[in-house]
Symmetry: C2
Subunit: 220 residues, 2 copies
């Protein structure tokens, strides 16, 4: 499978012409990659670390729209308006490849598979969004959190990371915000899952002890 940028420890990805097209960039925890309203120039492939994206409404409410980890692509929803509609912020030290979008047309003539790949990525994101709609529209708090944990788990699995034990780089408040729940509700459900032996949490470290039961909960 074609990759815009290989996630990993920092070796240069061989797929694209060097230099012009992509540029590496590192972010400290809390640093902003782009803000809502800024002109759209680049998409970003995450090499390592994690990034959250969020929208702000006129009246100041915030909606976290996603958490993104190594191998994922950021900024695609900005294509249509030419401006980023959300802001992207590093949740921990992170590295990204900056890919200039205005060179995409050119690039995909040289590399026809890129076009196909792009459709795949965007389609994947649409699919994910639909699952999220289901979560936000129809699931209760337990189901939401279980679904969330399993989704993270799967994404780590794809990236050859441990999928039963990982670090939640986002705060409870971020999780709640993303899932349409209050921070306190997230805490309570974590405690509940902990009591029932489903997960073991120590601060932001989490271990999933019973994937099957979690799946059953996620389904309802």
């Amino acid at each position: 499978m074609y990759r815009l940028c290989h996630p990993g420890d920092g070796e240069e990805a061989p797929d694209l012409p060097h230099g012009i097209v992509k540029r590496k960039r590192t972010l400290k925890r809390g640093e902003t990659l782009y803000r809502a309203g800024e002109p759209f120039r680049n998409v970003y492939a995450i090499r390592y670390g994690s990034v959250k994206t969020s929208l702000v409404t006129d009246d100041g409410r915030v909606q976290v729209t996603g958490f993104h980890i190594a191998g994922e692509l950021l900024g695609l929803s900005a294509i249509v308006t030419g401006r980023y509609n959300c802001e992207a912020k590093a949740l921990e030290a992170a590295g990204v490849c900056e890919v200039r979008f205005d060179q995409f047309g050119e690039l995909s003539r040289q590399l026809p598979s890129l076009q196909y790949q792009m459709l795949q990525i965007m389609s994947q994101e649409l699919l994910h969004n639909q699952e999220l709609m289901l979560l936000l529209g129809k699931k209760n708090a337990k189901e939401r959190l279980a679904t969330y944990l399993l989704n993270l788990s799967q994404r780590f699995e794809k990236r050859a990371c441990s999928y039963t034990r990982f670090n939640l780089t986002m705060s409870r408040s971020d999780i709640g915000n993303y899932l349409g729940l209050a921070e306190e509700t997230v805490c309570r459900i974590f405690s509940l899952f902990h009591e029932e032996g489903l997960v073991t949490t120590r601060s932001r470290q989490i271990q999933l002890n019973d994937l099957d039961r979690l799946k059953a909960i996620a389904r309802g």
Copy 2:
């Protein structure tokens, strides 16, 4: 702007080679265009009428994921898996252009703008999904319904239809389902808006009497 298929009364769109690439199809009210799990072969451009898409969970819960009107494109989230993940059903008599997806690669070599167009459309959809996340995650019932009505209004406006007076082709139950609300709640809010003179409803006909105030409500 390039169009896959011109919405309207049925004249053949001149943009694409006839025949091979696209085929017209008409649907009666309630008829299914595709079902979840079916192999993905086509995307569909709606020429007239309206279509709803919905997901079903293992335990039988349904989530309406969208309502689609003339000029909009259906099926893009199926690209990545090769199967439709939701089902699409006509809300009223409708006409669509069927566009074979396996000819897209070929086609966009002939018509380079198509590729660009495709990115635009998908990006637009991602953007819309994010607004929906905000709605489902952060807005209360009144805000949701106001947002919904305004969104429909805007889409009709783009298509040169009346944007203050239109027909809701979907049931209250569908609207509620889509917005993460009970059918009864939707009814109550409609009644409330009606009492306050914001809208005039007679069954499924609706007239928006005060867009500005609706906008204020939608924002919170």
